[in-house]
């Protein structure tokens, strides 16, 4: 269980709880018994389906019952027309949606939803995209949501034969503009940009890189304490996945960014991410130039040990690299 506060209760309260739960336990066990017996008897009727509905509403983590539910539905579908199957699945999707609102991080619910869509004669990927967009509006960091979103996009692309990479790239932009402390959105961008550049070769990769650096710099200056933006910056500045730069070009880019970060460091002298980034970038510049690293780097590492003592050993090890 996560994030459930511990309660110091009296014996009296505990006794009350025990009495209340005693009834619920009897009911629950009876329900479970009925469901498992039905399954043993190969009961695939709507009545059995209804039993599983009640049980799963109370306990969506009971994965065995989801399996049984799929057995029932598969059996029911065998005797139905495509239209009836579709409406049955639509009901199923509604049922699942309400479950997801209550338990947005339950693997089994997401899995069952995928199964429904795969079994659906005409799945509405548009609806699914809107649904997952809504889920991500509620919690932009829910990785189940992002995972499902990628799945829906993949299925849509398969169904339409058209790439959605530009659409998804714009979606991450929307999410970032709404809240740039979104590690999940930045991460997705790192996967979408290389694809975008491959699928739309007319895009000027250098210009795109320039835009991204402009964007991330706004974020860095707005909140230098946010890890995700610095990680993204590092990827932009060091990766070959966007543009393959020559040694000299890479060096120039690094030096430009070093300057920008140094300006920020002046107004935020205790910013650990500024300091760490400067160490990384100056180190890279030295490697590219085939020279020894600047002495300022040692100064940065000393400062880091001072302001971030929990990771002292890490900075010590880093120092030995230079």
């Amino acid at each position: 269980m996560h994030s459930v506060k511990r309660e110091r209760t009296s014996a009296k309260v505990r006794e009350e709880k025990r009495r209340r739960e005693a009834v619920k336990i009897v009911e629950y066990k009876a329900l479970v018994d009925k469901v498992l017996t039905s399954r043993k008897n190969h009961d695939y009727t709507p009545g059995a389906l209804a039993l599983t509905t009640t049980l799963l509403k109370q306990n969506p983590e009971y994965y065995t019952v989801w399996n049984y539910r799929r057995e029932i539905l598969s059996s029911i579908f065998q005797t139905q027309t495509a239209d009836t199957i579709q409406s049955q699945i639509d009901n199923e999707l509604q049922f699942l949606f309400a479950r997801l609102i209550e338990f947005p991080k339950c693997y089994w619910i997401w899995n069952h939803r995928k199964w429904c869509l795969q079994s659906s004669p005409s799945p509405s990927w548009k609806f699914e995209l809107a649904l997952v967009t809504k889920m991500l509006d509620r919690d932009a960091r829910n990785f189940h949501g992002w995972h499902y979103r990628r799945y829906v996009v993949q299925c849509t692309e398969k169904a339409t034969g058209k790439s959605m990479v530009r659409h998804e790239f714009d979606y991450t932009t929307t999410k970032i503009n709404a809240n740039f402390s979104n590690f999940s959105a930045w991460h997705n961008r790192t996967k979408l940009i290389p694809r975008l550049l491959t699928e739309e070769p007319e895009i000027d990769a250098r210009k795109l890189l320039g835009n991204e650096i402009y964007l991330i710099t706004q974020a860095i200056y707005t909140d230098p304490d946010d890890q995700s933006v610095w990680l993204y910056h590092r990827w932009l500045v060091t990766s070959d996945d966007i543009v393959k730069l020559s040694s000299d070009e890479r060096k120039d880019l690094l030096e430009k960014e070093i300057k920008s970060i140094q300006e920020l460091l002046e107004v935020e002298p205790d910013s650990k991410w500024c300091l760490q980034s400067l160490v990384v970038y100056k180190g890279l510049v030295a490697t590219l130039a085939g020279e020894r690293v600047e002495s300022s780097v040692h100064g940065y590492l000393d400062k880091l040990q001072e302001i971030d003592p929990m990771r002292k050993k890490r900075y010590e090890d880093w120092k030995t690299q230079f």
Partner: protein
């Protein structure tokens, strides 16, 4: 249920508390007392609720103007009213708010509205557009981290300084070392010296975010005001404040009166209190009735001698002013900072209400202007502001607007976005002459006395006086005042609105309802509207859960 009782003698009723005037503060008190079982008789000399907080239709407004100008019998905080109304206006289609206010989403008044369930009687609308008049145009203020991040006009270092300040101000009360020595110093000095903020940022923070009258406002007070705005963002959506349909103050007052009536308070409009005998505790009404008051009289009329006088102006214009509103909204705040109107010492604050507020017919809007400057000077500055508003709306709403911009004056940001020098823009726009002129359907100016003194009962008297609406555009201190009055009557604030409304609050149906709404939303989103997925505030307003 509390009711007034008739004694055997027939003509004298009794009540515990007689409240005279249905302004906001005393209406809250009426409800609070009634719910605790007190017999409340609540009367008002006007034929409408709200007193000095009310929103009046045009007939009521004319009567009000006459009354207010009759110095001898004027017992309101208002005076010197000049009213012009165009002919052929349907008087009932207007609700002119005498003391316009907005409600921040993080405020004790909103909490009280929800706790008391008076919010269910009201229809709230969002207000997210706050503009500062700078360089001859209205700049929208950045109020969140995201606004700052996405701004195309702030420099990187400015973004940093602003963010550093915002982070500090959200928790300023704990960080006394930073501001203690500036406690009573001007906020502008603090912002400049401690956070290295530049003039434009200081002006915006002081005027449009803090809604302060001048940058000389003391730091401690100002930080509270600024924090109020910033913490109110994102409570319900991308806006920090709300207003109620049909005029906020009056509607809130009426809402509390309705609540009080449900709890058993008795209401009489159009009834004057003409006398009170301290020895017999008999109150005499203009109907001739005598009411025996066992506890206290709370009066909002007559006794308040104001300390400060502000000036207000109301202008109804034949323009919908939608250019000033954010999408889905129907109101905006515009602030003219000090020294932007030929030497004004105090800001001029404007609340723009579109027809969506229910205060005027569609195609029109109401401009509520106010300033702390009094008398002739006050009116002068309001007129200058009015001119600027007129220029701006004509310019922004006109279709055939063209102006000359040199290619050289356009620079490009790294991401390709063109930016025109705002100084140059201001110049061009200053030279613009509109083809049409603005039609005013109504113009009203008046003065209003505002008290800064706390409420105190006169030594052995049963009469307590409330105070009139304040200078602030936001409701400030209302709940504290109401609690203060409540305490003077009952001796405590512990049971203030501690009410068991004794009905169901089924969590399951609430969740199911939420899920249903979401599903319907999605089904209706037939367009692949990923980019502009905007939750409709109307969904939220009905069920104001916090």
């Amino acid at each position: 249920m509390a009711t007034t009782t008739t004694s055997a003698a027939g003509s004298t009723e009794t009540c515990d508390v007689l409240i005279y005037g249905t302004g906001l503060v005393e209406s809250i008190v009426a409800a609070a007392l009634a719910w605790q079982g007190t017999n409340v008789l609540h009367i008002d000399s006007n034929p409408y609720y709200g007193g000095s907080w009310a929103a009046l239709n045009l007939d009521e407004l004319k009567a009000w103007t006459d009354r207010v100008n009759e110095a001898a019998s004027n017992n309101t905080p208002f005076s010197d009213a000049y009213l012009y109304i165009s002919r052929n206006l349907d008087p009932r289609k207007y609700a002119i708010d005498l003391s316009p206010h907005i409600l921040f989403t993080r405020s004790d008044l909103l909490n009280l509205l929800i706790k008391s369930r008076v919010s269910r009687y009201l229809e709230f609308k969002p207000l997210g557009s706050f503009h500062t008049f700078e360089q001859d145009s209205f700049e929208k203020v950045p109020g969140t981290k995201e606004d700052i991040f996405t701004s195309q006009t702030l420099t990187l270092l400015t973004k940093r300084s602003l963010m550093r300040f915002m982070k500090f101000v959200l928790d300023w009360e704990q960080n006394t070392t930073v501001w203690q020595e500036y406690k009573d110093e001007p906020i502008s000095k603090f912002l400049e010296e401690r956070f290295a903020l530049d003039a434009p940022q200081i002006v915006e923070l002081v005027h449009s975010i803090g809604l302060l009258p001048t940058p000389k406002a003391p730091t401690e007070l100002a930080l509270g005001a600024i924090k109020r705005y910033l913490t109110s963002m994102q409570v319900y959506g991308n806006f920090p404040a709300m207003y109620s349909m049909y005029g906020t103050g009056g509607e809130l007052a009426q809402g509390f009166c309705r609540s009080a009536a449900v709890a058993g308070a008795v209401y009489r409009l159009g009834t004057k209190l003409i006398g009170f005998d301290e020895t017999t505790s008999d109150a005499e009404l203009d109907s001739g009735e005598k009411i025996k008051v066992t506890e206290k009289i709370i009066s909002s009329e007559g006794v308040v001698a104001g300390d400060e006088e502000i000036t207000r102006m109301v202008a109804v214009v034949e323009k919908d002013c939608k250019e000033w509103f954010a999408e889905g909204e129907s109101a905006a705040v515009v602030v003219f900072p000090v020294d932007t109107l030929d030497g004004n010492r105090f800001a001029v604050q404007v609340l723009v209400m579109g027809s969506g507020s229910g205060q005027c017919p569609s195609g029109q809007a109401i401009w509520y202007l106010s300033t702390q400057e009094s008398g002739e000077q006050g009116r002068k500055y309001l007129y200058v502001a009015l001119e600027k508003l007129e220029e701006t709306i004509l310019r922004e709403s006109t279709e055939n607007f063209e102006f000359d911009v040199n290619e050289e004056e356009i620079s490009y940001l790294p991401n390709g976005l063109p930016v025109i020098s705002s100084v140059r823009l201001g110049e061009s726009l200053r030279n613009f002459t509109p083809k049409e002129s603005l039609k005013y359907l109504l113009k009203l100016t008046y003065s209003q006395k505002v008290t800064v003194r706390p409420i105190e009962p006169t030594a052995d008297s049963k009469v307590i006086c409330t105070i009139a609406p304040s200078i602030d555009l936001a409701f400030e201190g209302i709940v504290d005042q109401a609690k203060g009055l409540y305490e003077l009557v009952t001796g405590t604030t512990d049971d203030f609105f501690e009410v068991d409304f004794e009905d169901e609050d089924d969590d399951a149906t609430a969740t199911a309802a939420a899920a249903d709404t979401d599903i319907r939303d999605i089904a209706e989103d037939k367009e692949d509207d990923v980019m502009g997925h905007h939750s409709d505030f109307e969904e939220v307003a009905g069920e104001m859960t916090i």
